[in-house]
Structure formats: C-alpha cells, structure tokens
Symmetry: D3
Subunit: 276 residues, 6 copies
Amino acid sequence: MERQFGSFVFLSQSPLLLPPSPENIGRLERLLLHVFFPISAVDAEAAATEAGSIMLRSVASALHFENPERSEEDCSREARRVMDIFLASIPRLKELLSLDAQAGFEGDPAARSVREVVLCYPALRTLVMHRTAHLLFQENIPLVPRMMNEVMHSRTGIDIHPGAKIGESFFIDHGTGVVIGETSVIGNHVKLYQGVTLGALSIPKKGCGVLLEGAKRHPTLEDNVTVYANATILGDITVGHDSIIASSAWIKDDIPPCSMVIMQRPDVKVRPLRMS
Amino acid sequence: MERQFGSFVFLSQSPLLLPPSPENIGRLERLLLHVFFPISAVDAEAAATEAGSIMLRSVASALHFENPERSEEDCSREARRVMDIFLASIPRLKELLSLDAQAGFEGDPAARSVREVVLCYPALRTLVMHRTAHLLFQENIPLVPRMMNEVMHSRTGIDIHPGAKIGESFFIDHGTGVVIGETSVIGNHVKLYQGVTLGALSIPKKGCGVLLEGAKRHPTLEDNVTVYANATILGDITVGHDSIIASSAWIKDDIPPCSMVIMQRPDVKVRPLRMS
Amino acid sequence: MERQFGSFVFLSQSPLLLPPSPENIGRLERLLLHVFFPISAVDAEAAATEAGSIMLRSVASALHFENPERSEEDCSREARRVMDIFLASIPRLKELLSLDAQAGFEGDPAARSVREVVLCYPALRTLVMHRTAHLLFQENIPLVPRMMNEVMHSRTGIDIHPGAKIGESFFIDHGTGVVIGETSVIGNHVKLYQGVTLGALSIPKKGCGVLLEGAKRHPTLEDNVTVYANATILGDITVGHDSIIASSAWIKDDIPPCSMVIMQRPDVKVRPLRMS
Amino acid sequence: MERQFGSFVFLSQSPLLLPPSPENIGRLERLLLHVFFPISAVDAEAAATEAGSIMLRSVASALHFENPERSEEDCSREARRVMDIFLASIPRLKELLSLDAQAGFEGDPAARSVREVVLCYPALRTLVMHRTAHLLFQENIPLVPRMMNEVMHSRTGIDIHPGAKIGESFFIDHGTGVVIGETSVIGNHVKLYQGVTLGALSIPKKGCGVLLEGAKRHPTLEDNVTVYANATILGDITVGHDSIIASSAWIKDDIPPCSMVIMQRPDVKVRPLRMS
Amino acid sequence: MERQFGSFVFLSQSPLLLPPSPENIGRLERLLLHVFFPISAVDAEAAATEAGSIMLRSVASALHFENPERSEEDCSREARRVMDIFLASIPRLKELLSLDAQAGFEGDPAARSVREVVLCYPALRTLVMHRTAHLLFQENIPLVPRMMNEVMHSRTGIDIHPGAKIGESFFIDHGTGVVIGETSVIGNHVKLYQGVTLGALSIPKKGCGVLLEGAKRHPTLEDNVTVYANATILGDITVGHDSIIASSAWIKDDIPPCSMVIMQRPDVKVRPLRMS
Amino acid sequence: MERQFGSFVFLSQSPLLLPPSPENIGRLERLLLHVFFPISAVDAEAAATEAGSIMLRSVASALHFENPERSEEDCSREARRVMDIFLASIPRLKELLSLDAQAGFEGDPAARSVREVVLCYPALRTLVMHRTAHLLFQENIPLVPRMMNEVMHSRTGIDIHPGAKIGESFFIDHGTGVVIGETSVIGNHVKLYQGVTLGALSIPKKGCGVLLEGAKRHPTLEDNVTVYANATILGDITVGHDSIIASSAWIKDDIPPCSMVIMQRPDVKVRPLRMS
C-alpha cells in the first residue's frame, strides 16, 4: 500500500471512514435558505454549489462509513449521482417551499408578510431541510437525512423523520414538540399546531413479532386537514380530507372525510380558593 | 446615480435592502445579559453600546426592507430614535428583570441562588430578549422583534410573541413548549409551567370573516395567577387574580378571581400486566 | 497587595470571581462524545484531557464564585480532586453510555444502526452530558452541572436535572418537552417518550411550610418501566417494575409492579363538517 | 465588601484587572474600515458605536490593569472621555484616510482604482488603525494603542508605533518590514517603500546614561519626501522637504531640502559561471 | 420596480453592489489546498465545488461593483464562465503545484519530506493562491485576484502580484519581504530567498510622462536562476538562464546567461570593543 | 477487519493517517501564553492540560502520518511520553520565558512595562512557541515543531527553525524578516533586530556534494552578542561573546570575542534635486 506523493493523494488508507461532519450538516440550513429564497440569481447559484459540495462530501462519507466494504470510488460516484438529483430538483423544491411560505402567511393571523414567514417561522426553516432530506432518504442515503432531521429538531423542536411524505402548502404553527413519524403521509393544505404527534403504535423490535421492513406504521392525513395543538394520531390510519381534529384529541382509528373530531373535554371545576 | 468615491460612500444604490442579519439578532441575547446583569459598570456600558449598534443596523435594515419606498435617511433616523428609546429604557428593564430573577429563585425549590437563575434558567434568558423586543414592537418596528422572539424560541422552546404584555416578577419553570400569543396580557407575579399555551381561538385570515387589526385574541392573566404544565387557555378571556389553573386544563371562559380550576382527570385504570 | 511580575502571576486580586464560561460548558458535549464514543484511542485520550481542562477551570470558577470567602488555592485543589474523579469514572460512564446506545437501537423501530443512535439521537447526547453532570452534582459542585443540564435542555428540549439518578439502558424517544426532576430515581431498562414529566407536587418555598433540604420530591421508576408520550408522574411515588404507563396519563399515586396503567381517554366525537 | 445581588453587580472585587482582550482589539480593524469607508450612513454609525464599545471596554481595562490603585469608576470615566474624543474625531480621521487612499492610488501604477486601494492595500488598513491608535496614545492610554499597532504589524508586516506623528496623504507600498519608531514625525505627501526603517540610535535603558522620557529619538521627514525600499534613517535627524532617498541608503545625518540622496552602490561583478 | 415575492427574489435593486467578501477570499486558501493536495477524490471534488462557489460569488460581486452599469445577469454569466475555466484548469494547476512542492523539497536542506513542504512552507501556500489568482487576472477579473494576493501577503509576508507569470518548479525559501511585481516573468526552476524584490523603476503616474497601460515594468528571470536574500532587481531587464545573483545585490541591467553576479561587499572592520 | 461497536471503537482502519490539524497547532500560542504567563494557578493548569491534549493528538497524528508502518498504539505511547516531557518542563520553560520578557523590557526604550512586552511584543509570542517546539524537535517529533514554527512565522514575520538552540534572556526587536536556521546556537543575553539572518551557506541537496545529516550549517552567537537590523551571518562560524554587529553587515568568518564589527557604509551622495 504505497503512498504516492507525486499524485498528491496523501493517504492510501481511506480517510472516509469517518461519519459525516455535524458542523457541515448544520451549515446546510442557511445555505438552502439562500438557494430557495435567494437574494439574487448569483447568490442562489453560489449557495447551491456550496450546499451541493457539502452534500457530496457528507453523502460519500455516510455511504463509506456504513458500508466499509464498498470502494471509495463507488461511494463518490453514488454521492455525485445524488448531488445531481438535488441540483435538478431545486426548481421543484423552490416551488413547493414558496407554497409553504404562502400557507404560513395565510395560516397565522399574526404574520405581517410572507417575508416574515421566511425570516422567522421555525416551520419554514424545518421544511427547507426536510424537503431536501426527504430527497436523500428516497435515494437510500444513510445517516445524512436523519442528521438533517435532528439538526432542525434541535433548533426548532419540530421532529420530522426524513421518510415522511408531505404534500403542498404545509404549515405548522409554533411547532415545539411536533413529531411526524417515518411512514406518515400528509396531503396538500394541511396545517398542524404545536405538540401534534403523528406516531406509531408501539411495536417492540425484538419479541414475539417481526417488524416488517417498510411497513406503514404512521398515519395518512388527506388534503385540507387541520390538527390542533397536542393532538395525537397513532398508527396506520387515515384522516379523511377536509377534517378538523380538536386539540389534545387522541386518535387511533380512521376518520371519514369532512369530519369535525371534537373531544369531550374533561370537566373543569372552578372553586373559590381560600387564600392563605 | 454617480458613485462619489471622494466622500467614501461606496454605493449609491441602497444596500439596506437586505433583511436584518440573523447572526446579529442572535448575538443580542448575550449582550443584553451583560447589560442587565453586568459584571461591572464599564462592561454594562460597553455591552449596551454594542447592543445598541446591532439594534441600529437591524432596525434600519428592517424598515428599509419592508418599506423600500422610504428613504435610507428616513429609516436611519427612525432607527436612531428607537435605539435612543432602548438606551433610555435600560434602567427600567433592568429593574424588571431583577424582579424576574428573584421570582425564579422563589418559584423553584431546586434553585440554589439567584445567580443560578441568571446563569441557567431558560425563562430568564427569554425574558431578557422579550422585554427588549416588546419595546421595539410597541414602536412598530417590523421583523426585528419577531426575529428576537424566534431566536429564543429556538434556544429555549419558549415562544413569546413580542406583542405580549408581561407584568412584574414573571416566571416560567422548564418552559419547553410554552406559547404566549401576540395580544396576551399578563399581570404581576404570574407563574407558568412547561407546555402552557395562551392562544387564540382559530380565526381564518381569509374567508367569510375579517380579522380585525389589533383585535385582542389572546387571554388576560391577572396578578398572582399560577398555571400548571400543559394547560391551554384560549381566546380573549380573563383569568382573575390569585387563581390557580391545574395542569392540562383546557379553558375558554373567564375565570373569576381567587379560583382554583381543577380538572376532572380522566380515570386511570391500573391492571396487572401479564408479562410475555 | 503587591503585583509580583517576576513570578508572572499577573493579578493579585482573584480573577476567578467570574462565573463559569457558558461557551466552555457548551463545548463539553462534543468533547464527551469523543471520550465515550472514540474514533481512536489517542482521540479519546486527547478529548478527555481537554474535557478535564474545561472541567477544572469551570469547577474552580464556580466554587470561588459561589464561595468568595474560600481561597483560590482551596477551590483549585477541590476542582482538581473532582477532575480526577471524572477521569477515573470514564470507563464506567463509557460502559453505561454504550448500554444506552444499545437501548436506543432496540427501542426505536426506525433506527437503522447503533451508529445512527450515537450520531443522531438527542437522548444519547443528553445522557452523555447528564451522566457526567450527575457525577459533579454528587460532589456538591455548584452551577456547573446545572449549566450542563441547561445546555442540553436548550439543544434537545430534554430537561434532566443533574440530581436525577438514572440506571442502565435508558432511552428517551424524540424527547422534546421531557422533564426529569432533581430527586427522580430511574431503574434499569426504562424508556420514556416525548413530553413525559417526572415532576414534584408544588411546594411553595416561602409560606406556611418548610422545604426539607434534600427531601425526595420526585418519582421513582423501577426497572423495565415504559412511559408513553406526555404522561405526567408527580411526587415521591413509585412506579413498580415492568409497568407500562399510557400516554397522557396523570399519576400521583404508587403503581404496583407489572401494571398496565390505561387512561380512560375522553370521548372523541366525530361529526360531519359542513364545509363553508 | 458585600455582594449585592439586588443591584445585579455580580462581583464586588474588580474584574477589570484583566488586560484588554486581544480578540476585541483585533476586531477593531474591520469595524474602523466600516466607519471610515462606509457602505451607508447607518452602517457607519453602527460600526462606530460598536468600535466605541470595544474601545470603552479595552481602555477601561487597560487603565485599571496598569493602575490597580485607581478606582473602577475613575477608569470608566476616563474611558468614556476617550471614547467621546474618538467619536468626535471621526470626521477628521475620515478626511485624512480619504487622502491616504487617494495617495495610494496615485502612488502605485498597478492600482486600478481608489476602491482597490481601500480593499487590498496593507498600508491603508494599517493607517486606519494607526490614526485611531495615535489618538489614544496622545491621551496617555496604556497598552491599547500598542496592541492595535501589533495587531497590524502581525497582519501586514508594517510596524508603526502609535506615538508616530503622520501628516496627510501618506502611502507605503508593499510595506513588509517597515518600522516607524515612537517619536518619528512625518510630513504631508510622504511615500515609503517596503523595508524602510525610521529608527533610533541604540540607547541602552540601563547604564551610564539616562533615557530622557519623551526625548525625540527618531527622524523627522518633511513634506513630499520619498524613501525607497530598505533605506534606514536613524536618530533625531531631519530629512528636508521634497527629498528622495535611494533604496538601501543608511542615513544618520540631516538632509537638506530638495536633496537627492544617492547611494554609491557596491560594485557588482558579473562573471561567467561554469556549469557543473 | 416591483418586488415579486412569488418568485422569491427578495430584492429588485441589485444587492451585488457590495465588494467581494474578504472572509470568503480568505477561506479560499484552505479549500484550494484540499483541491490540489487532496486527502481523497471526494474531498478534492467537494473542496473544488466550494471554492468554485466562492469564486462565482466573489467574481460576480467584483464585476458588478466595478461596473455598476453592467446588468447583474451579465456579471453572473461572466462569473460562471470564469468558474468553468478554473474548474477546467485544476488538472494543470495541480501538476504545476506538485512540481513546486518537489522543488521546495529539493531546494531546502532542512526539509524532511515533500509532505513537510505542503504542510509548512509559506511559499507553497502562496503559490496555491497565486496560480489560481493569475488565472482570474488573465481573464480581466477586477479586485478578486488582488485580494487573493493580499490575503497571502498578510499571511506569509510574500507579495506576488497576480499579474506575475511564473514557470514550473518555483521555490521561495523563508519568503518574508519578497515582492514580485505585476509584469514580472519567471522561468522554470527559479529559486528566490527572503527579501528579494522584483520591482519597477519608479514611474510617477501623474506628471510629465504617461504610464503605458500594459507596459512591462518588471524583470524577466529565465530558467534556473537563483536569487539570494535581499537582492533587488529593478526594471524591465532580463536575468539570463542559469545565473546566480548574490544576496543584497542591486541590479538594473540585463545579466547574460550563466552568470554569477557577485557583489563587492562593503568592508567590514572588526575592532576590539572596550567594555564599559 | 471487523467493526466492533460494543467497544465503541468506530473505526478499525486507522483514522490517524491525517496530518496534524493546523487549527489546533494555531491554538497552541494562546494556550501556552496562559501556561507561562498565567492569570491564576488554576488558569495555568487548565491551559496546560488543554495544550497537552492538543500536543498529544498532534504528535500522535504526525508520527503515524510520517510512519504509517508504526502501530497506532505505538504512536500514542510515544505521544504520551512527549506530552509528559512537556508537562515536566513547564517550570523551566516558564523561568526562561520570564527572563526573555525581562530582556525585552530592558532592551527596548519604548517599552513601558514588562506586561507590555508580554501583551504586545511579537518576539515574546514567538519564543513561547519556539521554546516548546524546540522540546519536541529534540525528541525527534516530525512535522509538529515545524508547523509551530510556521504559525509564528506567519503571525510575526519571525522565522525560527525549531532546531535552533537559544540561551537565556533573548530578545528580538520588531522582528519582521528575522530568519534563524536549524543548527544555529545562541548564547545568553543576545539581542537581534529586524531582518537579521542567521543562515547557511548554500549547499545543494543533490549534486556533487553530500549533505551531512546533522552537520552544523548555521552560526553560533556567544553570550551578550547584539546584532543590528538586516545583518546577515552565514555558515558554521562563531561570533565571540560581548560583540556588536553593525546593521546590514554581511559576515562569513569567525568574529573574536569583544569585537565591534563596523561596516564600511557605501558612500551616500547628497545632491540638490531640480524639481520638475
């Protein structure tokens, strides 16, 4: 295993056997914001090449780290293929995110402008990363999309697994505590509030059952569904289009379209308080 | 549009048409902590001038960005006016935040000293930014107060809209998931726990109704109110002074003063579990 | 108080009367990850010495800041003693965290590998800091363990007081909004979901009662307990081993071993929605 | 010396007994560039307040560090006085630096525009700091002006002692290795090349003589003097106006006005080289 | 000049009228080192895309800043063209820099390996930037190549104007104070020591003469020339191949090939020193 | 080559095959300043452990990078041995550097205090790194000492090869352009000015001669020697104790003790200049 300096490859043993750098993954958020909400054409293009460069390095590292038996060349080729997919997808992603920003403006009475949504709303920042991470997830890239997911979870309290499929014009208000599981499917014009969980019914990995790889474990929300704060929707069920789910509701069964799901609130007793 | 270099104004076209820098907004937290909890007089003064400089630049950018038809001079003048208001308000804000720190110490049995509250408690960091952002909000500065709000939302999970009016000696324990809406009014000596929402009843912006600009959509909490974890208080209602709201309560109606609001907890059944 | 330059001690007055640096505390997370999940032996050792150096400085500062009457020498000696304890505890902590990572892999069907848990899961990052902070807490070090706690609370939304005792193979899924109070005791193989609170019943510090220093105010969870999302367990009670607590349950009483605690969910009414 | 927390002064012992922060001194260069060559009026004003804030903190620290017997209040008052002088001097400094930039453009055939001088030339960066440092030096501020001097020495290889008095329209080409001593006096329209020394004849501090405090030990260069590369001018002599000094010349005596100082170059012999 | 938000171009007025960012130019050094001396193929490719992204943004800014009448689209197109030239030139630049590293190893007896040259020698770092800057200079890009030049001048004390043409296998030992002027031409296998100047005879820009745009003002050094420390070579002269110039020599005339240029050193008198 | 996760060694292939990180080497300067000129005992100790940690990692990397056939364990063991030597040498290095600072104060009439020397003088910063790098050089550590050398060369323009042996109370004034070669030997109380070269006579590595490994190629300066600016001393000669070398002198022969070496300055002709 000779070390050829003439060709300036410093290392004959592969240095790719390190996981993707969390700092680099963290830089993607701001770069992608410049890509999708550009200040100018050249700014967008430069941000896209820089984001692509991080993607290239991170994806190749992740592939090699998880599959040390694959050659470095092979991992790089695969990474380049995925970077090209990302670059080709920018127009479509930009369109989707523009609709999300518009949905945010329309969905929050406190929003003064679409610009405020882009600059301030945690949901939009999270979607910028999620929609890109989902692309990588569909290409079976390990680690990187999950790291993108957790960077945003850490920064916004919104935890969207990169596997989740999300339609157009999606909005989450406030967002802290939202959890959207791996096999969730969300239609167009859906709106969630803080603390909403789209979760799985608990299935132990080990034990009497077998977790079917790729089995759908999380809900489907059809178009125009609104879910108020802290509602919990569990399992592979469907909430029909144009339905509204009350806050704190706990749902494990299909909901027909155009339903209003009201929760029988626990009684609240108000009694005078003797002050000490 | 001549470019006079002699006078060293590099650019004849306005460069202010960029939004305020998120990095600068993010630096405000630490600077304001030095302003309000100073290590020495000169440290406080230097931190105040630095915070003022960021405010000046950010506010001018925000005004010009949102109102491109206003002249740069006009935006700068307005920014300077607001910076002066901030500098003049420091003594009052310092007094308020000192009371908040004291309230934190008294409100949490686990707190060993007021210093621990200042150094460790997310609520205090958030209030340092909120009380300053509220000042800017009252002066109708766009974007900047909301960006300050979201910086702290991201760092602490506490989401206080800069429009919310908050009295003296306010405390939030833990704080993750707290949401305090734009037109909320909070009296003195109020204490909240994690996950509390002071929200609005949902009003679509578009549709059959019209959102009255400035309408009060969020609750009023009078003096000495305590709200336990995950309670939700919605709409323009009033919780009377010296009341206590149980955790997870869901309230849409006025509560008279000196009330204890108890929630009829859902029954919890405990049954033996056959171990597999 | 002469200023001897010959001995190159710049300052005769103690400069330690500053609180520990938040930036340094913040750097501990990444360093400890390298200590406990090393890339190589030398990387682990270098990270351990660097983490130890931050600990030394922070602990000495904290001791002197909180006890200005103690001499600097005394604070340094104490800090060195604690750093030695940390260094000696690394093998045991590494073993514990390895079990936690394994528990994360087994506990989440979406996890593809133990490496993904180490790289992506907020619970593991939080435990890396908590298990170290708990060590300092047991040695009565002020401020530093609480600052470590709040750094992770800010980054993950998981708030574990450094006083909490946690057994082997612990896992928290998603984690946002989890609160684990100071005197909580958690057995082996326990698993929590997002939004779970292990809290205290409210005891005012001032007033008719006296807060017993060191009194146990938070729950004990015995081995193999699972607590689903948003459940609230309050006071010095015991949840017996091998029990399961349903999501959103609200518990103030002891639960016998091998129990399934089911909550009578509030009725959810589904009615057709007339679309406007 | 009680520690009043109510007034939020954390420390009763003075924390100012630390030297000024080198990082802060280092940040001054960029800020001052924004002050004197502004992108917009608001940018200049914000940069000036930020630079002033650093100056305030650094000067107060330096005064207290060098004079521990002075009270902190006294040091702060003095620092504030100096900061006000700086702020009041900005228009005059801006004018001077504008002339320097113009001199750079006229003095270097390779310069394409005045903007290139401002963006690229080490001499201009150094003058931006020197002219400000000289102001502080004249107010007898210790350490800070010397630290500003050394920051630029490190970044450009140009070493101008803050005591040096420099007239209008000054330019240094390339600059590496230039040394300008403490009591140098430089007229208007002077131009130096790389490696020029304006030095002192060596006077031992200790020994048979006494170093007269404030004695002039370095040269005076009158208006319109040009000194070519690596020339050395030593002692309290005067180079008369409109003179030109050849490169590598070594001068210890007064030079009359309008002189051309030519150096008898050592003979250079060119002989054929037998190639091995 | 409408502000279309739908297309997410925030700003209708051009934001490019800012000079290239010095921070970005500064980052190029490390990136280019990764491009030309890569750790792995994917690392090199990612570094190249990131360097290209900085180049794209900087070049477009520089073009627009210096030519405000050119449209932004036009500047971007031109920047993209130049970036493509850079990317296409990487193999040739890599080959050249590999030869430079080899020349450094052979030229310094203290060098232990070619790797040490790449990691430690200021000359190599400077050439990595110079050879890239020269490419931009040849394409008539304003500002950016000069900024690259000055970044390295600041970091290494070696000042190579981007216009200078440099052949293969070039080496500079130590380097501090080296100045290589804009129209210098350097052959293959040339070696310089610290303090060498390849300068112009002074030509005032204004005055009785006219500076011929593009006139050659600096020396040509043919192949295999060695110039020892602090030698000064001035004007459009030629130093013939295989010549050696003694240290401190001062040369204004052509030197024939295969010459040894020796300087008649000034006499050095050694006399006994009476110790005081 | 199995990847054992249980033991948490991520990588079975050695990740050490990367060169030492330049960023880490760069951080050593400030840390070593804290070690040798401490603010307090605990600050010094923490800085020493952090510097030691960087040294450990860098030395191990350098050993493995230059000797890939050595096992990682072996490299780490060697690195630990060297770190221990460094830690044990701190008292002696501190004493030496204290004498250097005192020498700086006594050697420069412009220095107001020893503190100013420590805070501002490039020579002292360089010695802090050199004296440590020399220690590593003596232990035959590759790359790291040279990288430390070049970091300081870049920051101060002073280029001291780590092999150079330097006695007590050494001082360099200004320093830009100073070069001190690998086999130089410098006695006690020596003082140099800017631009001084202690160099080798040129010996081609390849060619008719053979470079004797370890041959002394650079000068010896005995005690109490002073060398003025830009003097050049070449080859394995000795400058006897208590000698003074004039500026710009060029010396290739032994100088007896107590000599004053004066250079016959080239004649300087002053002639009147006809102004155009």
